[in-house]
């Protein structure tokens, strides 16, 4: 009893300590896009998931450096249940005493319900839900999770799988995810939210303004002293920057690279430009017998490793970094960024810039006068995407390869080059951040051979295909020994590199404009976690 009283005093003191600095501090920020839905299973997109991650929570959370820390689950472990294949059963201990914003208790039922909802028709989180084959409730705060195969990085997938309350969803007819189908008007959860996170939605007018207020009953101590967050989407970059410089906003992102200097020169604001975990690269069609967009008929020059080598050695990544990216990019030799598990410094040395060698290789391959090919390039997806293509095209022109740049808005571009467009490309620029922050995602999506049945290599648009690499990618997916796993990742990347399967360009910079009045944590996946926002 005494202990309990003592605890209550401590809790009350802590509550006071937390609420004292919260003198209605409002944090205002703008992003280029808007929050299209409040349904955490409706769209698998960084900004939506990042924002909703402050309202809803997964079983695990990311800390400032994107390490996994306990969230709604206090602990987890792989069980040694002999009845199940090794490594396929996990036990999660759930956090007790957590309440949803509207007062409901968080229990095992909510986790099971969420998993089912995320797998429902119309959900865009099916991939994440699919990493789990079954959940058994042991008691209200213990669950057993089965995976279809051993999956050492399961918990990383659970970070973005936000837990919803079962009762609330049932009471409001929102047991299925808001789907994108034409006749679906979107359900209650599309416009309302009830999570366990540190902030609650106060009002949300799509594409105009979203106001979030602090959840005073949040279960965890967080650095933030903010009591209200005002989010406004501002589409025009110039308006966004002006609103920051004029002092109306505390943070805006993204900021165009050419505005950095202006921010540095303006009083009270700064550019925050950490490296993003996204790798930008060129890919080549290595499977068709004849390129779709080239003057070479009857054969595919990219099938010849000498041509791929020539293309890679003709690229001056430092020049792209300096001239196009204003020194803010990190040239890459690997398909993953340093923040990603499986990154190997030794392999990250870019292909050396050597135009003479490139020319010689091209002549050896039988193209002394070069050839023509068209490159597909988005013009509003990545930082300076079109300019990178143009700069690279001028470098390839020096070794005699005439590259036509077909730059299009992302909706047209993705419609053409992705699986839905029949991989209609010969040569392309693409960027990729593995959502799990693990190389396995890159290996299975971008590097393994295209295979519709195993659903691997679906984003390997040029179908670089090496049986050994594909095998390694599959093995990495189920290997639970971290050292062995990393050795396999490195082996796969090494083969890829020696075969010139892709041409990595760089990791692009994140680009935020921040007022001196606030302190924020810039996460490598470009997500703003309000838990770390401090207003001075």
């Amino acid at each position: 009893m005494k202990l309990r009283t003592g605890l209550m005093v401590a809790v009350a003191a802590a509550a006071l300590a937390v609420s004292a600095p919260a003198q209605a501090k409002t944090f205002k920020f703008a992003f280029q896009g808007d929050l299209s839905s409040l349904d955490p299973h409706s769209l698998n997109e960084s900004f939506l998931l990042g924002t909703l991650g402050n309202i809803y929570e997964g079983l695990v959370l990311y800390d400032e450096q994107m390490n996994v820390i306990p969230g709604l689950a206090e602990s987890w472990r792989i069980t040694d249940n002999k009845d199940k294949p090794a490594g396929t059963e996990w036990e999660f201990k759930l956090r007790k005493g957590v309440k949803f914003h509207e007062g409901q208790d968080f229990t095992a039922d909510d986790v099971i319900f969420t998993w089912q909802r995320a797998g429902s028709k119309g959900s865009d989180q099916k991939t994440r839900a699919g990493k789990i084959s079954n959940i058994t409730k042991v008691d209200d705060y213990t669950i057993l999770v089965d995976t279809p195969a051993p999956n050492p990085i399961l918990v990383r997938d659970l970070n973005f799988l936000y837990i919803m309350d079962k009762e609330w969803s049932e009471a409001n007819g929102s047991t299925n995810a808001t789907s994108a189908t034409g006749d679906d008007k979107g359900n209650y959860a599309n416009l309302n939210a009830n999570g366990t996170g540190p902030f609650k939605v106060k009002s949300n007018q799509a594409d105009v303004k979203t106001v979030m207020v602090r959840n005073d009953g949040y279960w965890k101590d967080i650095p933030s002293n903010v009591s209200q967050i005002d989010f406004t989407p501002i589409k025009e970059a110039a308006t966004r920057v002006a609103a920051l410089v004029s002092g109306e906003l505390d943070l805006v992102y993204p900021v165009p690279v050419q505005d950095w200097q202006r921010l540095e020169e303006s009083k009270g604001v700064n550019a925050l430009a950490g490296p993003e975990a996204r790798t930008i690269f060129f890919g080549m069609d290595q499977s068709r017998d004849e390129l779709l967009y080239s003057n070479i008929k009857g054969k595919n020059p990219f099938k010849d490793i000498k041509v791929r080598q020539a293309m890679a050695h003709a690229l001056n990544l430092d020049a792209i970094k300096q001239k196009v990216m204003r020194n803010a990019a990190t040239p890459a030799g690997l398909m993953v960024a340093p923040q990603i598990n499986g990154f190997n410094e030794a392999l990250n040395l870019p292909y050396a810039y050597d135009p003479e060698k490139a020319k010689a290789l091209l002549a050896e391959a039988g193209y002394p006068d070069g050839f023509e090919v068209t490159i597909d390039c988005p013009n509003n997806r990545y930082v300076n995407d079109e300019k990178i293509c143009q700069a690279a095209a001028s470098m390839w022109a020096k070794i005699g390869v005439k590259v036509d740049v077909l730059a299009q808005p992302k909706s047209k571009y993705f419609g053409k080059v992705l699986e839905t467009g029949g991989y209609d490309t010969s040569f392309y620029l693409l960027g990729w951040t593995p959502g799990t922050m693990d190389s396995e995602n890159v290996l299975s999506s971008l590097i393994a051979c295209q295979n519709k049945e195993t659903k691997t290599g679906l984003f390997n648009l040029g179908n670089y295909c090496n049986a050994k690499v594909t095998e390694l990618a599959a093995a990495v997916g189920s290997e639970t020994n971290q050292d062995k796993r990393n050795a396999m990742i490195s082996e796969a990347f090494d083969i890829l590199k020696k075969e010139y399967g892709y041409m990595p360009i760089h990791q692009q910079p994140l680009s935020w404009g921040v007022s001196d009045r606030v302190k924020v944590n810039q996460r490598a996946d470009n997500i703003l976690d309000y838990r770390y926002v401090v207003v001075k």
Binding site: A30, D34, S36, S37, S42, L43, N44, E45, D124, K126, T127, T178, S179, A180, T181, G182, D183, D184, K185, G186, N190, L191, Q205, A206, D207, V208, K209, T232, P233, I234, K235, E236, A238, T239, A242, A243, V245, S246, G247, E248, N380, P409, S411, K412, F414, G415, L418, E419, T420, G421, W432, G435, S445, K452, K455, L458, F459
Partner: protein
């Protein structure tokens, strides 16, 4: 008169149908909406199922028929992105655009006509010449640039006015929101409405001036003067009245243009109106919103044109005479 209106109505229907067809046909070529609705990890089968359920696989004529029939009932479908009825989204945004256009129209007319008269009457004065030079800038500078310059001067350097948004708004009747009733709302209106009005203002001013100069040279003005009428009566009763016929036509069209051109101003100032909704929809390939917007703007133009035609009929006795023959 009735047959005249009837003819106009019939023409309007044809115009609306054509716009609907063009709008609908055009949207088939702006990219794949499915790609914008799903994330990078969504599989091909899921994408195909989505395309099927959106009716994207039906023949063109079926899709258009469905669209036209529903549009007539004010039903433009569900926004792909927001998953809410498009009519609801547009209604939410309508007040912002109409208020902005209204203030701009008042500015353009209220300043444009008097300035036009003034520069015509004092065509050799220094002030008139100054105004004419400034108006040339107004006509030739793009709206986008004017907006950015105003933001830089009044928002960033002087910090007098907000750089974006509508400020605080008040709900009236549940669906109409107004910025007229709050200080921040009124302050927020200033820069965007000036930006939007400048082109129309200078256009109206130059038009009134040119017409005025012409009318002032005509015989009946000379006769009016000969009759010994005071200058004021000559200028405003006789001359200005006669310049108004073309001014009404242009103004009517410009009013439509104000609503339609608000797109640029709205995106510069992040003004939460229909134009912004439309531009966002283009980026996201949200076909239902784009279709609804284009049809709605066409509808505005058609209605305004009809009103102008009828006004014409009322203002200009010659039209009535023609019809009688």
């Amino acid at each position: 008169m009735i047959s005249f209106i009837f003819k106009r109505l019939l023409q309007s229907v044809v115009v609306m149908l054509t716009v609907a067809l063009i709008a609908f046909a055009m949207f088939r070529f702006v990219g794949d909406p499915v790609n914008n609705m799903v994330g990078q990890d969504t599989t091909d089968t899921e994408r195909a199922a989505l395309a099927e359920s959106l009716g994207l696989n039906d023949p063109f004529i079926v899709q258009f028929g469905r669209f036209a029939f529903n549009a007539m009932r004010g039903d433009f479908g569900i926004s792909y992105k927001y998953r809410r009825p498009v009519s609801e989204l547009i209604l939410e945004r309508l007040s912002a655009t109409l208020e902005l256009s209204f203030v701009s129209a008042v500015l353009a007319l209220g300043l444009g006509v008097p300035l036009g008269v003034y520069t015509a009457l004092k065509s050799r004065g220094i002030i008139s010449k100054g105004i004419m030079v400034l108006s040339l800038m107004g006509v030739s500078l793009p709206t986008f640039l004017i907006g950015i310059l105003l933001i830089l001067l009044f928002g960033v350097v002087l910090r007098w006015l907000p750089t974006f948004g509508r400020g605080d708004v008040v709900d009236i009747y549940g669906w109409w929101t107004t910025g007229f009733l709050t200080v921040s709302g009124l302050k927020s209106l200033i820069l965007p409405s000036i930006t939007l009005a400048i082109f129309q203002l200078t256009l109206i001013m130059r038009l009134v001036r040119a017409e005025m100069l012409e009318v002032l040279r005509t015989d009946f003005v000379k006769f009016a003067r000969a009759r010994g009428l005071p200058d004021r009566a000559v200028h405003f009763k006789h001359a200005l009245k006669n310049t108004l016929v073309p001014v009404i036509t242009i103004t009517g069209l410009q009013l439509g243009a104000l609503i339609a051109f608000a797109i640029i101003t709205e995106s510069v100032f992040q003004w939460p109106g229909m134009g912004l909704l439309f531009i966002q929809a283009v980026a996201d390939v949200d076909i239902p919103i784009m279709a609804a917007y284009l049809v709605l703007i066409a509808f505005f133009f058609v209605v305004i044109n009809m009103v102008v035609d009828i006004l014409y009929y009322a203002v200009d006795p010659r039209l009535r005479a023609d019809a009688a023959v």
